[in-house]
Symmetry: C2
Subunit: 418 residues, 2 copies
């Protein structure tokens, strides 16, 4: 069976001047991958007719599925629809179903006056299959030419996701016969990718040709992923499991979890297993740890909340850090984060707590306490463990490094109590 190859074309000047980060492509790539479709290439072009046509020509040369996002809005800079109509030699006609849906959205949902521009969203090329966009006014469009499938989707992420899930992926699965693609992923902490690579070199070199190993470093941790493809799913899974078991033994000293789970979910899983709760007391991370914990649906089962104590008076008044400690050792100190954990455990009434205090930059550093210096503490009512980190460089990265490393410290602490 031949591999089914796809490409993604994202359209919009906003991508070329960097006004938006393209999160759509990563999501689409994941979904294609799960469906057994291999994404060969992604390309981003501006709202420019010739550039769009070139991209359609280029991508359809060596991929069977061309997914196109963006440029379907109602304003003058959105030209994807007329360009596609022209490319596939169609003419524009009003689709009555889309028209009824646009009217419904404006009258019942948005409750805004409908304009001629909005009504024009119901005009579609007569050579496409219209895909219903339940979440917005721009419909999806499915074209076929020379055995290739071209699908145009809106660039608004939740509209694109709705269309992909309900319309595009089911149709692609009907239209093509896919090989099975399967992954095994584990997460490590504590050593760098080259160190791991040396350690597992002979195993990696002996991997069968239809298997591929990837090293995915992220905030001081390294994810290892084996990808295999084949026609017999049971056989493929068996082979993958065999290699994965070998890998797990090789990296056992640094393995955090043998699943493709981010740390916030690993911590949540441990807490649910123990029937325990946690909270956070955040100074320098400013609510980011609370955010990544609560971005997991169902986190209210184990997470009670956070005291984001950006000002020292909040550390004193709400977390009961002693004024003497703040005066003598300062807010960025081992003793302060220790007291923040103890205060949070009482104030928020949980089994475990995590606290952070540091200097995230770019300003506020001193010779004694430079930018990137962070104290972290985790603990329960019996015991508090602290750790000092020295990160560098940009603010957002320091916040993310602090979040990831402190969650890993908490994970180890919770696992030891279990």
């Amino acid at each position: 069976m031949e591999q089914v190859l796809a490409s993604i074309i994202t359209i919009g000047d906003e991508l070329l001047i960097g006004q938006v980060v393209d999160t759509n492509s990563a999501w689409m790539a994941q979904e294609l991958n799960k469906a057994g479709i291999w994404l060969k290439r992604r390309v981003a072009v501006g709202d420019n007719k010739q550039e769009i046509i070139n991209a359609l020509d280029d991508q359809s040369r060596d991929t069977q599925i061309i997914l196109i996002t963006g440029g379907l809005g109602p304003t003058a800079d959105d030209i994807t629809k007329p360009v596609l109509n022209n490319y596939f030699g169609g003419k524009m006609v009003v689709d009555e179903n889309v028209l009824a849906h646009v009217k419904y959205l404006f009258e019942q949902v948005y409750r805004r006056p409908i304009t001629d521009r909005n009504m024009k969203q119901a005009e579609v090329p007569d050579v496409c299959t219209v895909l219903h966009n339940a979440r917005g006014s721009a419909p999806g469009m499915w074209f076929e030419k020379d055995g290739k499938v071209f699908v145009s989707l809106p660039g608004v992420p939740h509209e694109m996701k709705g269309l992909m899930t309900t319309e595009v992926l089911p149709r692609l699965q009907q239209r093509f016969t896919m090989p099975f693609i399967s992954h095994r992923t584990l997460l490590t902490a504590g050593v760098g990718e080259s160190y791991i690579a040396d350690h597992i070199q002979s195993w990696e070199e002996a991997l069968p040709a239809h298997f591929k190993l990837a090293y995915l470093p992220n905030y001081g941790m390294v994810r290892l992923r084996i990808t295999g493809s084949g026609t017999d799913k049971a056989q493929l899974d068996k082979e993958l499991d065999t290699e994965f078991d070998k890998l797990k033994i090789l990296v056992k000293h640094w393995m955090v979890i043998d699943e493709d789970l981010p740390l916030n979910m690993v911590v949540g899983k441990l807490l649910k297993e123990q029937g325990k709760t946690m909270c956070t007391a955040e100074s320098c991370t400013g609510g980011y740890i609370a955010h990544i914990i609560t971005s997991v649906p169902g986190s209210s089962a184990y997470y009670k909340g956070s005291i984001v104590s950006y000002a020292n008076e909040v550390k004193e008044n709400v977390l009961k850090v002693s004024p003497q400690t703040l005066q003598t050792t300062g807010a960025v100190s081992e003793e302060t984060v220790r007291q923040m954990v103890q205060g949070a455990l009482v104030t928020l009434n949980t089994d475990y707590a995590l606290a952070t205090s540091g200097i995230m930059g770019p300003d506020g550093g001193t010779a004694e306490k430079p930018v990137g210096m962070v104290w972290v503490a985790v603990g329960n009512r019996e015991k508090v463990v602290t750790q000092l980190f020295n990160f560098r460089f940009d603010r957002m990265r320091n916040i993310e490094m602090t979040a990831n490393n402190s969650l890993n410290l908490l994970r180890k602490f919770i696992a030891e109590q279990g």
Copy 2:
């Protein structure tokens, strides 16, 4: 003067299976744009020799600057360096400066044993100019061929950013003569993009040919950006200001700010002007609002902290929401968010407070209180204003919509007090 065109090639299988979101390209696009270089195209390909070569051929056909990121790590899946060496007909040699830097990093900074793989990072093609990567072990590489410039950079964001800032952009500015590109951006709230487009149609149609208007909708707000290019900076800025002034008058009823500032910065600016402070009391947004406020350097001047009250007992015990209110109207209610604001003002001792409580999904909705229902309150000690929102669809989007809309409500409230 001819426009200087650039393209970006990002390399890595992780981009094609969606394991990482490409944030590098947006940042690079912004920096190129500021430097007067127009990004024509972005393409992402896998760790595959032929794909990389095709991308180099394709992109150098119609752009003068080709920026390449990724695939420079020390492991077997990173093939960018040998492919480039081959493409430009060089041979690999050890660069003594890079070697000394790699040794320094491992001995003094990472304090990890150095491996042969790490030492190999000091091998570079003899046909490139080596660019010093102060932030990591993989050097940048600058190649020239047929008048085109090719620059290879590591994919790790803070390493790429350091190299771009200190090495690549200054060299590009020396190497090419750029036209001036300038933007004027404003933010609106309250109406959709088609409504605005109708309202400003005759002005937009009369814009000179070297000006372009973009509509950038984002979480219920629309950003409008005019971009112009020219050879005379003073003349260009004058023309842009003239058109921008006309636009500001046309959209004055919905304009939030006439700068390219996100809402978190707009609120911070207002607070600094008034010399006032704020805090947050977050239930459903789970610390996300605290995070976006504190992601701004210097936010400690006006932001004291947040009580993330994910559990009702935290609303009662820390924010002093009455147990009767929680029992009778529930946590997602106007009365609860009102009391959360009042409690936060006292507990965190600030001039203004913002509170959120809602159902973010995908679970937890009921017929009476469906997923996407959110109560928001903002206020000071004299007055509290509340608003009910009904969002839909995915959890992260609901969190972001709540954050943006509640910050806009707070912005209006603060502006009215000023």
